[in-house]
């Protein structure tokens, strides 16, 4: 009898163990990714607060700051949650999803004040710069080495934290001013 009980207990333990082995990492991974997305969304919102656009980009006093998420990045939904009911420079923040860097979407892209470009769009960055020109659009991305390559603000993972790099010249030539406080925290790359 005891033998049977032991065997049953063993089977239960094995099943549990296997399921733990299978579930744990997958779970942890998704959790980390979700957290990173949240932090990035919070950073993007913060950038909107520490950046100052030329006054003429807003048509009215209550025109919202438009943040465009370019490409199918999961950050869009998180960002929508983060900015819900919040303001920057006393303006509402509106999140738009933009399919990608396509010439058809040029107007949509130009209407935004801040763009987050999905890493999957990395090959079309050149086209993005052509579409935007020197318009005051602050472009943020987690494409590797984004700031170094002339992007404006790049996000990267460093020592378990998300840090950001700013290409000052690239930002300043569009007329957008970034707060000195922000620059102090950033890694300046150009």
């Amino acid at each position: 009898m005891t033998g049977l009980v032991t065997r049953r207990a063993l089977v239960v333990l094995m099943v549990l163990g296997v399921s733990l082995v299978i579930d744990q990492p997958a779970c942890a991974q998704t959790l980390d990714a979700a957290k990173a997305t949240r932090v990035k969304a919070a950073y993007i919102y913060n950038f909107a607060k520490f950046a100052t656009w030329p006054a003429d980009v807003f048509k009215t006093d209550d025109a919202p700051i438009i943040i465009g998420v370019v490409g199918p990045d999961p950050i869009a939904a998180t960002l929508e949650k983060v900015v819900r009911g919040k303001t920057a420079h006393n303006r509402r923040i509106e999140v738009r999803r933009i399919a990608g860097v396509y010439p058809e979407a040029a107007d949509e892209l130009r209407e935004c004040h801040l763009l987050f470009v999905c890493a999957c769009e990395s090959e079309r960055i050149g086209q993005l710069w052509r579409l935007l020109g020197n318009r005051p659009v602050l472009v943020v991305s987690d494409i590797e080495g984004f700031a170094k390559r002339g992007g404006m603000i790049g996000l990267a993972l460093e020592g378990g934290r998300i840090v950001f790099e700013i290409h000052r010249a690239a930002v300043e030539q569009t007329g957008i001013r970034l707060s000195a406080k922000l620059l102090k925290l950033a890694k300046i790359v150009g």
Binding site: K49, P74, K86, N90, S179, L182
Partner: protein, 1133 residues
């Protein structure tokens, strides 16, 4: 205090100076110290808050981006101030983010709290400030500040102030001790002098002035005071003496006044007694007697006598026997003489008084010139006389005269009293006259009373009569006062309200009886009636025993003789039972209607359920036909298709019918082309009519505008039903559709649609029944002719929806004509004269003007139709009944100015058919060279060629009957060479098997739960060359879409687990499939489904049963949007 009182004046002065001075300094010192402390405690937190804000600004970015190192660096800047013990940055949630601690402080274990403010602890100050960024609170800075240095500073200040106070007090004492002498010494002197004066009572003493200040003034004032006391003493003496003289004067004056008062009192007593006695007197004589007695007694005159005004109106004064004689015997002579002597007005003493209406006084009668009785009076030794009148209504009605034995001067006071006596007496006269008048009136009243008694007896009889009616009246009769209280109510009314007696109701408010729901309306009625209207009202009352009764009341105003309304009279009927009956009826009616609706809904649902499997049958049969079946199998399959088609038609009929029954049918109002709609209906019937060789005639009045606003679908349905019905019951002859314009205005046109046939006809007694649901003219015909019998019922109801009546005229064996007349609005951008937009597309018909056309047709109706139409276009029209006749006409006119340009030739004609006629015309040049246009109900040129075997190639054109108006026009225009041949649309009847065999390489996702339908769709799609994926329901479809993209998604609407609408909403929420077209497939045929699908995000709508043609069209339409060579790779995230 006692000690203080005992102190000398000098010491008191000194003490005052020191105490005052000391207190002022203590206060000053304390205020100064306090101010210092408050200042420090106020400024310090403010300064520190500023420091905290600067720190907060510096760390805000670090906090936002959670950079603790940067935050700690910012805090370390605080080491510049030695007093700052520690500092901490908290997040908005209150968690420590970064800390700073002064060197040598060990470990900081303080628990910090984020808020906005400061707090003093022993030895330290804590300031907490929020960090705000762009209006949002992102954290707090807290700074601890040591107060040790501050305490030391304050201690030093306190010691310094105490020392300063002591020294100042010492310095003040020396001058105070010297200065007090200047004040105290003169006061001591003055006190000594006062004492001296008081003791000696010598007011002549004077003090010496020693200084020039207020004390000097005090000495002077003291001296002046002494002098004034001296003066007052002597003045008082003089006044005392004067006062005694004045007292004597006043006493004598008082005496005189008392005497006057006594006189006046007597006069008043006289008047009072005259007034009292004259009031008590019943006659004037009695009153006069009393008055004379009283006056004599009052005045002390011995003789008095009265005259009265003669009643004959002559104004004479008649002497009376009213006398007051002091000594009777002595004046007998006077009395008898006087009583015998009346006076004229103005004559003698009484006459003068009567004329002047004023009292008169004679000092001595002997000296009076106008005194008739002077001798007798002299003899009686009477000397003085006076008289006064009693005046009533401006006449002297009595004169009273008095005589005295001495001469006497006029006594004004006596005369004034007499005037008052006269006035009192005049009141007696007035009262007596009034009494006389009253007596007369009483007499009259008594007479009137007798008459009233007679009248009231008659009235009582009449009232009794009315009362009997009122009491026995079965309806409630009541009167209500304007304020709403019940005045009267008859027994029937009392019974209605369950009142025991009238007393229960009378005086109560009528509104109290009416139930709350109705009382406002009842008040309104009452108000209107009181204002003079009359009215009727149905309302509910609650009787005295709580019984509710429904009432119908008719109320009228009641007016009194002057026309003023004083009540409202209401006659009220109990209608409770009536209402119950009506309500029961209504309930029964609603139940019946609900049952009917349920039936209709059941039918709608059933039709839908039948459609789904039918869809499978049709689809599978079509597919089977494409698998090269044997001839026999193909026949069977075609039968299956035909049967399914009929079944579908029946179901559609049932569905329409139940929609109408359920009241869910509504008509659209869209612009449509009347001619196209009619011709579309005819087209469908033409297929069925062709094998029977029936003439199909369409005549739409050329006056009718082309475009209208209305529901073309439903109009077509009615026409198809009527035409189909005509076709069904007609074996030979003709079927005609006529549209006539009956009336037109600028905005709308009244059209009469008639569908006639030459069929079996309907017996007169069945005419009404044919429009009933599920009924045909004869029960047996259903079996003979087939059909549900719903067609006419639906048509009738649709026509009724359009606001018209479907009517029928029929004769057994001759045929039937169904007709209805509707008024349609002309579609905008078109004028009423028919110059419609369509004409801008069509070629200019004016080219036909003057063209001569010969119409050859054995059918009379057809000839007439063409005659009207062509004439309206300006053509010269000739008509012919047969081929030979036509040839004859051509021969007759050839070469003349009446020569024929075009011949419209019917193909099927007895005796000589159209083809033969055409051949003859071609062969014989003598017949001219008219252009030939064939018209046939057999089909197009090819069909005719096959059927008849003749050669038709030479004909200019070929038209299929019924002839379409636009086509006829273009054909004729081209025949006479007005337009090029290329623009003439040759009619082709689409070949069912000639489906476009183009193939599509589209990727299609088919979402369908029904296996049969799935199979059908897959079969058709495969044939089209599509790449098909299948999902059994919405949920599976979403899974499939996770990693595949499609060019089009075909989505069933009704599915288990997740239906098509929900699935579409999910798909649309997914960015990747935003653009993928979704086409709904549904067996739902009820209204509103299309809107539901589109609202859910679908792009198009395909109603079941689906056929390969429909599906192909849909796939073609929606896959064209996708560029075939640029398939977007599914992006990965």
């Amino acid at each position: 205090m006692k000690l203080f009182e005992r102190l000398s004046f000098k010491r008191k002065l000194l003490l005052f100076a020191l105490v005052t001075c000391g207190a002022a300094m203590v206060l000053q010192t304390a205020v100064y110290f306090g101010y210092e402390v408050v200042d420090v405690y106020r400024d310090l937190p403010e300064d520190l808050s500023v420091t905290a804000d600067i720190v907060g600004q510096n760390v805000s970015a670090a906090l936002m981006f959670e950079d603790r190192t940067a935050a700690s660096e910012a805090l370390s800047g605080l080491s510049a101030d030695d007093n700052i013990l520690a500092a901490c940055v908290l997040t908005a949630a209150g968690k420590p983010f970064a800390r700073y601690l002064k060197e040598g402080q060990g470990v900081d274990t303080t628990v910090y709290q984020g808020r906005d403010g400061h707090e003093f602890f022993t030895g330290e100050l804590r300031v907490s400030r929020p960090i705000e960024l762009d209006g949002e609170r992102i954290g707090y800075v807290i700074i601890r500040y040591s107060l040790a240095e501050l305490y030391a500073d304050l201690r030093n200040l306190a010691v310094g102030l105490v020392l300063f106070f002591g020294v100042s007090l010492l310095l003040a004492f020396a001058p105070a001790a010297r200065l007090q002498r200047y004040i105290s010494e003169p006061i001591v002197d003055l006190a000594a002098m006062t004492k001296k004066v008081a003791e000696s009572k010598d007011f002549a003493l004077r003090a010496t002035r020693r200084s020039d200040d207020e004390l000097g003034d005090l000495t002077d004032s003291f001296n002046q005071m002494l002098e004034q006391i001296q003066q007052r003493d002597s003045a008082l003496q003089t006044l005392n003496e004067q006062l005694e003289v004045r007292v004597v004067d006043r006493t004598s004056e008082l005496q005189k006044r008392t005497e006057e008062l006594e006189e006046r009192r007597r006069t008043v007593a006289l008047l009072q007694s005259v007034a009292t006695s004259s009031n008590a007197a019943t006659t004037l004589s009695e009153a006069l007697q009393v008055a004379i007695d009283e006056v004599c007694e009052y005045s002390g005159w011995p003789v008095g006598h009265a005259y009265l005004l003669a009643e004959d109106g002559s104004g004479d004064l008649v002497p009376t026997s009213i006398w007051h004689i002091g000594d009777g015997v002595r004046y007998d002579e006077v009395r008898s003489t006087t009583e015998a002597m009346p006076f004229k007005p103005g004559v003698g003493l009484p006459g003068r008084v009567a004329s002047s209406r004023k009292p008169a006084w004679i000092v001595d009668v002997r000296c009076d010139t106008d005194f008739a009785r002077v001798q007798i009076l002299e003899a009686a030794s009477l000397r003085a006389a006076f008289a006064f009148p009693v005046i009533f209504e401006n006449d002297a009605v009595a004169i009273l005269e008095f005589f005295h034995t001495d001469t006497s001067d006029p006594d004004e006071q006596l005369l004034r009293a007499m005037t008052s006596v006269g006035t009192s007496l005049s009141r007696v006269v007035e009262r007596q006259r009034a009494t006389d008048a009253l007596r007369e009136r009483e007499h009259k009243l008594r007479e009137q009373n007798t008459e009233i008694l007679k009248a009231s007896r008659a009235l009582a009889e009449s009232e009794n009569h009315l009362r009997t009616i009122y009491d026995s009246e079965p309806e409630c009769v009541k009167t209500v006062a304007p304020d709403g209280t019940v005045l009267e109510m008859n027994p029937a009314g009392l019974r209605m309200v369950d009142a025991g007696s009238l007393d229960d109701v009378r005086g109560t408010s009528v509104f109290g009886l009416v139930t709350d729901e109705h009382v406002e309306r009842y008040r309104d009625l009452h108000r209107r009636v009181i204002e003079g209207e009359s009215g009727t009202l149905v309302f509910e009352i609650c009787g005295f025993k709580g019984r509710r009764v429904w009432m119908e009341t008719h109320a009228v105003p009641l007016r009194n003789e002057s026309g003023a309304i004083y009540a409202h009279l209401a006659v009220t009927r109990d209608i409770t039972e009536e209402r119950k009956a009506v309500q029961a009826l209504r309930g029964a009616k609603e139940a019946a209607e609900a049952g009917n609706r349920a039936k209709s809904e059941f039918l709608a649902n059933m039709s839908h359920e039948i459609r789904t499997p039918l869809n499978g049958i049709i689809g599978m049969s079509e597919l089977a036909l494409d698998t090269n079946p044997t001839g026999e199998q193909a026949e069977f399959l075609k039968s299956v298709l035909a049967c399914s088609g009929s079944l579908l038609a029946i179901i559609n009929d049932i569905l329409d019918f139940s929609k109408i029954e359920a009241g869910k049918m509504s008509l659209e109002a869209t612009p449509f082309d009347l001619v196209a709609t009619c011709e579309a209906a005819l087209d469908i019937i033409a297929h069925r009519a062709a094998p029977k060789n029936l003439e199909l005639i369409s005549s739409i009045s050329p006056d009718a505008p082309h475009r209208f606003l209305g529901d073309p679908g439903r109009l077509r349905q009615v026409l198809i039903n009527l035409l189909g019905n005509a076709e069904k019951f007609t074996e030979q002859g003709e079927i005609s559709l006529l549209v006539d314009v009956l009336d037109r205005t600028d905005d709308d046109v009244t059209l009469k649609f008639s569908v006639g046939d030459t069929g079996t006809g309907i017996a007169e007694d069945r005419l009404a029944a044919i429009f009933e649901s599920f009924t045909q003219a004869d029960g047996a015909t259903t079996r003979q002719y087939g059909g549900t019998g719903l067609g006419l019922a639906i048509s009738r109801q649709l026509v009724e929806l359009m606001g018209a009546q479907l009517q029928v005229e029929s004769e057994l064996g001759v045929g039937s004509t169904f007709h209805f007349t509707i008024t349609l609005a002309i579609a905008p951008n078109q004028t009423a004269d028919g110059s419609e937009t369509a004409s801008s597309i069509l070629p200019d018909k004016s080219a036909l003007r003057g063209t001569s056309i010969l119409v050859v047709d054995d059918n009379k109706t057809n000839r007439q139709v063409l005659d009207v139409l062509l004439t309206s276009w300006g053509c010269r029209v000739a008509l012919s009944r047969s081929g030979p006749e036509a040839l004859e006409m051509l021969r007759a006119t050839a070469g003349s100015n009446r020569s024929i340009d075009v011949v419209v030739l019917d193909v099927q004609m007895p005796e000589m058919d159209g083809l033969e006629v055409e051949q003859r015309i071609r062969e014989n040049e003598a017949l001219g060279r008219p252009k030939i246009v064939f018209a046939s109900s057999l089909g197009n040129r090819k069909c005719v060629a096959e059927l008849v075997g003749g050669d038709t190639t030479s004909a200019a054109a070929f038209l299929t009957k019924p002839i379409k108006r636009d086509l006829l026009m273009t054909t004729l225009l081209s025949a006479i060479g007005a337009v090029g041949q290329a623009s003439v649309p040759e009619e082709t009847r689409s070949d069912r098997n000639g489906i476009d065999q183009r193939r599509f390489k589209s990727r299609v996702l088919l979402v369908e739960d029904n296996p049969v339908n799935r199979k059908v769709a897959v079969g058709i799609l495969k044939k089209l060359g599509c790449d098909i994926s299948i999902a059994e329901n919405g949920r599976i479809a979403l899974e499939v879409l996770q990693d595949k993209r499609f060019d089009v998604i075909l989505m069933d609407v009704q599915m288990p687990e997740m239906d098509g609408l929900e699935a579409t909403r999910h798909i649309r929420a997914d960015q990747r499939h935003n653009d993928t077209p979704i086409v709904a497939m549904t067996a739902h045929a009820m209204d509103g489904d299309r809107q539901k699908c589109l609202a859910a995000g679908m792009d198009d709508y395909l109603s079941k049963p689906i056929s390969s043609a429909k599906l192909r069209k849909m796939v073609e339409a929606w896959t064209r949007r996708v560029t075939p060579d640029s398939p977007e790779p599914a992006t990965t995230t």
